[in-house]
């Protein structure tokens, strides 16, 4: 029973264009969402996050959109660069009270940015 789903295993985008990575979730209790980037032989690196009280969060070239009613979020990378080529994981957690709660991850989407 996958609570966080990334339905596209891979995505290829031309350098300079927009990359859009999608993520769906089923657990209504999730209220905090994160994107991580992973290069081979390295651990996941935190990229950007969004709380359920927002519908958009921007950080430089990266923007995350959240549609709570559709239980869907997306990561936009503009403009895409060859160095963005990596596996991107969507993750979700419940935050009730203080604390670092467990992250539930999707299976990842491998992004290839073509020069």
């Amino acid at each position: 029973d996958q609570q966080v789903k990334q339905n596209s295993p891979s995505l290829s985008v031309q350098e300079g264009r927009i990359s859009i990575l999608n993520c769906d979730y089923t657990n209504s209790m999730f209220d905090y969402f994160l994107w991580y980037k992973k290069y081979p032989a390295e651990g996941p690196t935190f990229l950007i996050s969004i709380s359920s009280i927002k519908d958009k969060n921007e950080d430089g070239r990266f923007t995350v959109f959240l549609n709570k009613s559709a239980k869907h979020l997306s990561l936009h990378i503009v403009p895409s660069q060859p160095g963005d080529s990596a596996v991107y994981f969507c993750a979700a957690s419940e935050i009730s009270g203080a604390g670092s709660y467990q992250l539930t991850f999707g299976k990842g989407t491998k992004l290839s940015v073509i020069p």
């Binding site: 651990g43 993750a91 709660y101």
Partner: protein, 114 residues
């Protein structure tokens, strides 16, 4: 400022053996979480330690156990290894009272069970 470190990098064991993996959290962090990442899958939560106690646990059998030391470093122990335990084991550190839920990951330990 050192990030999250893990040791060893790679490990090969045989079925039935026991293994111990180690993690040092990022400076200033007090919470350590462990994840298992099988090939082609996303990381799966094993458990989380804070103040030397297990505060959350995922859907893993009792063969998986852990420990956190007073300096916040942590160990993951797996007993009676099975072939299916072959995976990348990731340690993540965070601040329990921190904003949001950003966890910082180490490079992982690649465990192969033969």
């Amino acid at each position: 400022d050192a990030g999250v470190t893990q040791s060893p990098t790679h490990l090969i064991k045989t079925r039935g053996q026991q293994v111990t993996l180690r993690c040092s959290p990022k400076s200033g962090h007090d919470t350590v979480s462990w994840y298992q990442q099988a090939l082609g899958q996303g990381p799966q939560f094993i458990f989380q330690y804070y103040e030397e106690e297990e505060r959350q646990r995922g859907n893993f059998p009792d063969r998986f156990s852990g420990h956190q030391f007073p300096n916040y470093s942590s160990e993951l122990n797996v007993n009676a290894l099975l072939l299916g335990d072959s995976a990348l084991y990731l340690c993540a550190s965070s601040l329990l009272a921190g904003l949001g839920n950003e966890q910082f990951f180490g490079p992982g330990t690649r465990l192969t069970v033969l």
